[in-house]
């Protein structure tokens, strides 16, 4: 019946599916269920017979099952985690408690605004903090992840051009861009045109100048880019795009290596998204939930998604009175539980701490680069910002592929 003692739980990958642990008659009884009384309350043709296939497992077995699954995961908390084009940051434990405070966790999104002034203040403050960090003029916290932030940003760019008579037809994206960039542009109805990046790994302004024309709605650029390099020419690149009436979208997923060193708002960037689950220490959760706030320059402010918090004489209020807004990109207001953690992180770090974290990230990336340089081939031998890219050249003769190394 019960599986016997396993001396080294977690060493053997043999945890059955929860469905395979199910035994009829076992499991939780919440009480207060179906009865004579309830029989007439659901019309016959609407009534479900049973939950076929749902597990029947006792509470101890549910707990054991998921604890054993957890033992098969490696997280930032248990080991050094060098993977991903994303930054895996330490997730401060206190933020887990903060997000579970009843005043946040048990708050229904439709309570009267007077009853939610604390969280609304948090929204306003976090918007201001992100604006300060990025050098942008306004911020929305609504998007649920980086990719939704990109979509939101591109919709705003589209609305901006459309209001000026022509939404335009294409978006320039460097070949090295993260897959979400071209996908987001395409989902806003844009043709994606790749701009080549030279052997330096850096987008050069001249190339952009040649590629841009009056049909270009925007250039999407990642900075530091996905190779871990700072886009040195970003200012002239942005000028080239602006010169033809286009806008500059910056993928801010790698902002971790920029905070306190340079502000996208000073580089000619018109709109960018933040990945709070990367740069602001909120847990990655095995793939979300994240949050992808979007910062914009003044010219794009009217298009920010609704609702927005506005200050009134009676206090903070949600308002949908923004007729030029692109509309709503999700239910309610954003991933509040994630925003709460990000805000607590900023409080703990402070301006000085954020800047130091950035510098340490740059240092650590360059350190890893230096230590592995002799062993692996380094295609772009420049100082990097937050990560560095190696490839498997040189290992081919041993028949080794990148996946084996990982």
């Amino acid at each position: 019946m019960r599986s016997g003692p396993r001396k080294k739980a977690g060493l053997i990958l043999d945890e059955p599916l929860i469905f395979e642990r199910s035994r009829p008659g076992c499991g939780w009884q919440a009480g207060g269920g179906e009865s004579e009384e309830t029989a007439g309350l659901v019309p016959e043709e609407l009534r479900r017979g049973d939950l076929d296939g749902f597990p029947e497992v006792s509470e101890p077995d549910v707990l054991r099952h998921f604890l054993r699954l957890s033992q098969w995961n490696l997280g930032a908390a248990t080991a050094f985690y060098p993977l991903g084009s994303c930054t895996m940051k330490y997730n401060p434990v206190v933020n887990e408690s903060v997000a579970r405070l009843e005043g946040f966790a048990r708050l229904h999104p439709l309570v009267p605004d007077e009853d939610a002034q604390g969280v609304m203040e948090l929204v306003v403050e976090l918007e201001r903090i992100l604006a300060e960090i990025s050098g942008m003029d306004a911020v929305t916290l609504q998007p649920a992840a980086g990719a939704q932030g990109e979509l939101t940003g591109m919709k705003m760019i589209r609305a901006y051009h459309a209001e000026r008579g022509n939404p335009r037809g294409k978006v320039l994206v460097p070949a090295s861009a993260h897959g979400t960039n071209p996908a987001s542009a395409a989902l806003c109805g844009y043709r994606v045109e790749e701009v080549e990046v030279g052997s330096s790994g850096i987008l050069d302004a001249e190339r952009v100048r040649r590629a841009v024309d009056d049909d270009v709605a925007a250039l999407m650029i990642t900075n530091p880019n996905t190779l871990g390099l700072f886009e040195r020419e970003i200012v002239p690149v942005a000028e080239a795009v602006h010169a033809r009436g286009g806008l500059v979208y910056m993928d801010g997923a790698n902002l971790n290596a920029l905070m306190g060193l340079a502000k996208p708002g000073h580089m000619g960037v018109d709109v960018l998204q933040f990945n709070l689950h990367k740069t602001f220490s909120t847990p990655h959760g095995g793939g979300g939930p994240g949050a992808g706030p979007v910062g914009v320059k003044e010219i794009l402010r009217p298009y920010l998604p609704i609702p927005r918090v506005v200050a009134t004489a009676e206090g903070l209020r949600w308002s949908e009175a923004f007729p030029r807004s692109i509309g709503r990109v999700r239910s309610f207001y954003g991933n509040i539980g994630v925003l709460v953690r990000a805000y607590a992180y900023v409080l703990a770090a402070g301006g000085d701490g954020l800047a130091r974290a950035t510098r340490m990230a740059v240092l650590a990336a360059n350190y890893v680069r230096a230590r592995l340089q002799g062993t692996y081939h380094l295609p772009y031998p420049r100082p990097c910002m937050h990560e560095c890219v190696f490839d498997d050249r040189g290992f081919e003769k041993y028949g080794v592929k990148t996946l084996d190394i990982a």
């Binding site: 995961n73 248990t78 009843e102 229904h108 009267p112 009853d115 203040e121 993260h178 703990a348």
Partner: protein
Amino acid sequence: MRFLPHTDADVQAMLEAIGVGSLEELLADIPADLRERAALQLPPGLPEREVWRRMESLARRNAGAARTVFLGAGAYPHYCPAVVDHVLQRAEFYSSYTPYQPEVSQGTLQATFEFQSLVAMLFDLDVANASMYDGASAAAEAVWMALRLAPQRRRIVLSRALHPHCAQTVRTYLAGFGEVEVAEVPWGEDGRVDLPALERAMGGDTAAAVVGYPNAFGIAEDLAAVRRVASRAGALVITVTPEPLALAVWRPPGSFGADIAVGEGQSFGIPLSYGGPGVGLFATRMQYVRSMPGRLVGQTVDTAGRRAFALTLATREQHIRRERATSNICTNHALMALAVTVYLCAMGRRGLRDVAWKNLRLAHEVAERLCASGKWRRRFGGAFFNEFVLARSDLESVLERARAAGIVPGWPLGRWFPELGDCLLTCVTEVHSGDEVERLVEVLA
């Protein structure tokens, strides 16, 4: 910064290993004028104790969390067994990365596989993905998918009784997505989509009809009829379920022939958190799987022939297909999907039905008692689950009275639908104690 492990000695040693004299040298690529203006005008860092104090004081100013609240309308208060949060607090789960490397992610992958199986069973459809952001964006993705499946059809028909956040998100997502026309169909007297109007709205150019199940009034749409009407037009049926607990007692959308069923999973073990994060549920028929957005975990065998789990059908996704991907979604809501999985396993086959029946019974009891008071009337006749719409001409003053009593008795529907200015959408669930229900009835009746 207390989260950083580097001592000054470490920094020095690292700089030496890199072969530079200072950190500044590593930043040479950043133009000087950008560096000069980069200082952050933010207060200095606080010790944990002060952070906690500040956050507690913000939390305390959310008085709504302490009131007796009978709100649903897209976010539902339910009791969550403690085992759910216990599992979510495992650092191995919450701090782990997207499971791109299956060797170190079998835990997340197997749990996600179980999530997908549960969601597919719940909706009675063939396949579910690894999660979306929330119900509203899942609905918008479903519409994208329907349009992709029928490239010549450029019309989407929405029931007006769909949760307005879904309808609005669909519209936002469609801006620029080709020339798509969005039609809205009114509700009938029973609060369900008006079938003759639906029939009229759907022509050969319609890709899909989208209805709520339950809809914005807590009412079950007549999915059998919607399916018939849609089939005549050759269109898909998309259902959106904001309160999936209803599906423990209502027939699942798949059993009525829905093509895509999406929903919001917050009811299943996720705290309200002022509306987010929740989790988007997304299921469809096997024949459409290659057009489905989002990640998918499949069962496979490892090199030693043992069962293992891995991401599958990734060629639909942005990191491979780029601008031709089925969606731009990358990070989804994995940890919330885990919460749903643990919740459903902890409640189990019988427990989930038990609690669903309890919701249904309580809500019907309250609705009946209020109507029996003679002061309220049911606005719509359709079958409901745990929330219902009652009308009363002096609604505003009743709301004020309730407020004084510390009760939020429901959502005034006039905020969403001007013609329902006298209507209140009230939700009663298993979290409401007998005393709380009595106080509600007392204040309202």
